[in-house]
């Protein structure tokens, strides 16, 4: 029988014993970024969670750049922090390989198995690619579950309304429409949860699925809709990624869309019935001011939108309704791209349904969505020009509400093919 936990890891867990907070850190060749994350967790243990029994568990997928050594050896270098955070308890730090195909899904499964065995009250999963993790953010993700107030804790980043459009225009509203869960960051690679949530995830049979490996972060967020689970959000400040190069937009958008649509398919049984939104408890702390917005190349996006729509018309005719495609063409032909909320919701819902039914190659479908996405970003950026951040936030919320109201459409398209 194959095992999730290696003997080496089990040995480490035996030494840890029962604990209150387990911090999981999946890595694969993250030597450039993992050190600060480990240090932040270490300080969180000693300063923010001084009385709790804690452990850091690094599940490594076979790094060849010495990541596990860095995890084991990372220490606090700042003298003031060191003095201020002397530990009351033995702090365990385990770095071990995990069984299974390398990938975040296998790593998370091992973290959940460890949390279940150690009867952890709270689990925090950190992302080594997020540079803005702090001891306070680690504690903020742990506390609601530790206090027994929540089973799933999603981070809420201080974002400018134009920042992260893949999340704000695509993932967040569609996730909300399907799951009825108003999470700001369903795609986040870091989160907190209770031991109960970890045990429930562990019980799921989908761990071996190829699809899960693609969509693990969204799948975890989707699991929060389970019966009897309480969801909270924790304000963790701005979000900054590490400096390592990331895929170009043309590759990133298909990746995210594929993951999102796949996740909807994997968890269609867990979609919220009706349009009831699940309550989300928000941290009372005022959010810090967001980072300045990234520049949006509106003109460039507009050109790509127009030309893409023209070149891919034949392909898009097979996945979008005629009225939707016509409206897109009209929007592309305008002086400035015009993709209003209702049109954008229709586009996303129809693409999601087409992906589910594999009307055309799923790979082609998500790639064909890139110019449409850029058109929407350009359109939205133009709308937001001159608006105060608070008004801009309200526009984002209005978009999400629009998607929620279109849930009936999504369900109808999902269950009956377009053609």
């Amino acid at each position: 029988m194959s095992t999730i936990l290696s003997d080496e890891l089990l040995s480490g867990l035996m030494a840890v014993g029962q604990l209150d907070v387990l911090v999981g850190l999946p890595t694969l060749n993250h030597s450039d970024s993992v050190g600060p994350v480990v240090r932040a967790a270490h300080v969180a243990f000693n300063r923010e969670l001084a009385r709790e029994r804690t452990a850091l568990l690094n599940m490594d997928g076979g790094s060849t750049d010495g990541t596990p050594d860095i995890v084991r050896d990372a220490s606090i270098v700042d003298r003031e922090t060191l003095l201020a955070s002397q530990s009351l308890r033995t702090r365990h730090r385990i770095s071990a390989p995990y069984h299974g195909v390398p990938g975040k899904a296998a790593a998370l499964r091992a973290v959940f198995a460890a949390a279940d065995l150690l009867q952890a009250r709270a689990v925090v999963v950190l992302d080594p690619e997020i540079a803005s993790v702090t001891p306070e953010s680690v504690a903020a993700l742990a506390r609601p579950a530790l206090a027994g107030d929540a089973d799933f804790v999603s981070p809420a980043y201080a974002r400018h309304p134009l920042d992260g459009p893949l999340v704000t225009q695509v993932v967040r509203p569609l996730f909300r429409a399907a799951y009825g869960l108003a999470l700001a960051e369903p795609l986040s690679g870091e989160f907190g949860c209770s031991g109960r949530f970890a045990a429930r995830c562990l019980e799921q049979p989908t761990w071996e699925s190829e699809d899960l490996r693609l969509a693990i972060d969204l799948w975890i967020s989707g699991m929060a809709t389970g019966d009897g689970l309480r969801v909270a959000e924790a304000a963790v400040g701005p979000r900054r990624l590490t400096a390592r190069p990331r895929p170009a937009v043309a590759a990133l958008v298909p990746q995210v869309l594929d993951a999102l649509f796949t996740c909807l398919r994997l968890q269609e049984a867990g979609w919220a019935p009706g349009s009831r939104a699940i309550a989300v408890a928000r941290s009372a702390a005022p959010p810090p001011p967001p980072d300045p917005p990234a520049n949006v190349d509106a003109a460039g996006y507009a050109t790509l939108f127009r030309e893409g729509l023209s070149a891919l018309g034949g392909m898009l005719e097979r996945v979008l309704r005629p009225a939707t495609l016509e409206a897109l063409r009209a929007g592309a032909a305008a002086d400035r791209p015009h993709v209003p909320d209702d049109l954008w919701a229709a586009v996303m819902l129809e693409l999601a349904a087409a992906h589910r039914h594999a009307t055309i190659s799923r790979d082609h479908l998500v790639r064909a969505a890139v110019p449409l996405y850029l058109g929407r970003v350009a359109s939205f950026a133009a709308e937001l020009a001159g608006l105060e951040p608070r008004d801009a936030d309200e526009r984002l919320e209005a978009l999400c509400l629009h998607f929620e109201r279109s849930r009936g459409d999504l369900v109808a398209l999902w269950t009956a093919p377009l053609r």
């Binding site: 089990l10 035996m14 065995l117 150690l118």
Partner: protein, 543 residues
């Protein structure tokens, strides 16, 4: 609690209402007093209360001599008080079973008074009469300390009547259909009130036949089946628990094919647990369990360490009985009716570790455990009270006036409290122990919690492992894919044992009380070390 097999998961708690709590200040416990103590039972974590006889009775056998089956003894309250108690118990999620004395009544029961009045009385045949005491020769006498014969001469009707117990307890005649109908109406009465079942006293002796032992006869089983049929038809989900102090193979027929008793006490197991502990050898315990026949899937054994009666040594050999007397009842005053009349704690010299181990065995062997009131705090006994009264003293609630049992004058209590420095109520009481995290009460609560966290211990099979070290008793309880490995050190010294667990290779043992992880089981022998009287319950997980 709508599961039809609820008794397989339940933990029973035996108590006498007179001994529990007195509300009206007359020195005798009553139902209103019992209601005020239900939260203690809820807190402890038990599921079902077994009430000892509470019927109108001359109380010459502590209520087992019943004078009216369908009423409550005025000392304990009224029928309305009983109804209120039932409702309060239900509100707390507690079931209730009551005593049903099938075999005999008091000689002051109206039926007997009518029966003896004339040979032509319609109720004459409710009892077993004879003109001589020659019938049923050779049948053993149960209360041999006090009775010389199973026949008693009735000067009123000038005839002998049959009694297997005290002479003031004439046996009912189950060959008479009217008797069976009367008994069914008695059962119906209580079932309609809402009791969840009955503990049926003295079942083996219902029917007599010449040339037999007059015990366990086929006709007796048929009586039981008939009552069970009628109960299932009108009151599904209720339970019948047999008191049949017999060898397991003789008790087996009482289950029928699942159409007889739901439960029966496993009498022979109990003394062997004590023996195994004293001998520091698992042999007696393993043998009796392995000799226990399979019972129908819907049936269950009732396990106990102590109860309101003596620790019976009927189902052991003479050598074993002698050993038990020497080890556990050096003072002959504690010996009664082929048994030892002491509570659990004094039997184990007040040794906390042994008490814990015995309770752990009780809750991990196959069957539903029955706790005797007071044993959860380690109450003591008073062997000088005579008969079995020494183990039926008032419950010790506090260190104050009458231990919180009653506001009456201490001299008015139905029996004196235990008051010696070791087990006295000032030292051993519920209030003290609730305040202490490591008290026996707190520990017993935790034990029950762990037991309730799984169905395996109540419903699973048992497989003994037999390592070379005979002082260590090891078994695996299994239910579907769930497995629990139980390791017990029966000796007073630390032990190491190598276990062959290759059938469970790959599993991670998780100690159930603290959740600690133990090394993964491999093909090679698995070493476990235990302190004196220590035990482990391991849940096996494959991860």
């Amino acid at each position: 609690m709508s599961d039809a097999l609820w008794y397989k998961d339940a933990i029973f708690y035996e108590l006498h209402v007179k001994a529990y709590s007195d509300a009206n200040g007359d020195g005798i416990g009553d139902f209103p007093g019992l209601v005020t103590r239900l939260d203690h039972l809820k807190d402890l974590g038990v599921d079902c209360i077994w009430l000892l006889p509470m019927y109108p009775s001359p109380l010459r056998d502590d209520g087992y001599d019943i004078a009216d089956y369908c009423a409550i003894h005025p000392q304990y309250g009224t029928l309305d008080d009983f109804r209120s108690f039932l409702k309060a118990a239900r509100d707390q999620g507690l079931r209730v079973i009551t005593e049903l004395v099938l075999n005999h009544t008091s000689d002051q029961h109206p039926w007997f008074e009518e029966a003896r009045s004339s040979p032509d009385n319609p109720k004459r045949d409710y009892y077993v009469w004879s003109d001589s005491d020659d019938r049923y020769r050779g049948v053993r006498i149960i209360f041999r300390d006090t009775e010389m014969s199973n026949w008693a001469w009735d000067p009123v009707s000038k005839a002998y009547y049959w009694h297997r117990f005290f002479s003031h307890q004439p046996d009912l005649n189950y060959d008479n259909p009217a008797v069976r109908e009367e008994i069914w109406q008695v059962m119906r009465f209580w079932l309609e009130l809402g009791v969840d079942g009955f503990r049926v006293d003295a079942v083996p002796y219902l029917v007599e036949r010449e040339g037999t032992s007059c015990e366990n006869l086929p006709e007796t089983h048929e009586v039981v089946r008939e009552l069970r049929r009628r109960m299932d038809a009108e009151f599904p989900g209720r339970m019948l628990l047999a008191e049949a102090n017999m060898w397991p193979q003789d008790v087996r027929p009482y289950f029928g094919d699942g159409d007889g008793f739901h439960m029966a006490f496993h009498f022979p197991l109990m003394p062997r647990i004590f023996m195994a502990l004293r001998l520091e050898d698992r042999k007696p315990l393993v043998e009796i369990v392995e000799r226990t026949p399979e019972i129908p899937a819907s049936c269950q054994w009732g396990l106990f360490l102590r109860n309101h009666d003596e620790l019976t040594l009927e189902m052991v050999t003479d050598a074993e009985r002698d050993y038990m007397y020497e080890e556990y009842a050096r003072d002959p005053v504690a010996r009664i009716n082929l048994g030892i009349c002491r509570r659990l704690a004094p039997l184990l010299d007040g040794d906390r570790r042994r008490i814990e181990l015995m309770n752990a065995l009780l809750l991990s062997l196959p069957g539903s455990p029955v706790l005797y009131y007071g044993d959860e705090i380690g109450m003591g006994d008073n062997v000088y009270l005579g008969d079995r009264n020494g183990v039926r003293t008032p419950m010790q609630w506090t260190g104050g006036w009458n231990s919180g049992f009653s506001v009456a004058d201490p001299e008015r209590l139905y029996q004196p409290l235990i008051s010696n420095p070791v087990y006295g109520y000032q030292a051993v009481n519920v209030e003290n122990q609730r305040r202490q995290q490591n008290s026996l009460f707190s520990w017993t609560k935790r034990l029950i919690q762990v037991r309730r966290s799984t169905r395996v211990l109540g419903r699973g099979t048992i497989e003994f492992l037999k390592p070379a070290n005979h002082r260590v008793l090891v078994y695996v309880r299994s239910l579907d894919s769930e497995k629990i490995l139980v390791v017990n050190n029966l000796s007073g010294t630390a032990q190491a044992v190598e276990l062959d667990l290759h059938d469970f290779a790959g599993a991670i043992p998780i100690e159930m009380f603290g959740g600690s992880l133990f090394p993964r089981i491999r093909e090679r022998p698995y070493v476990v070390t235990l302190g004196p009287y220590d035990f482990f319950w391991f849940k096996l997980r494959w991860l």
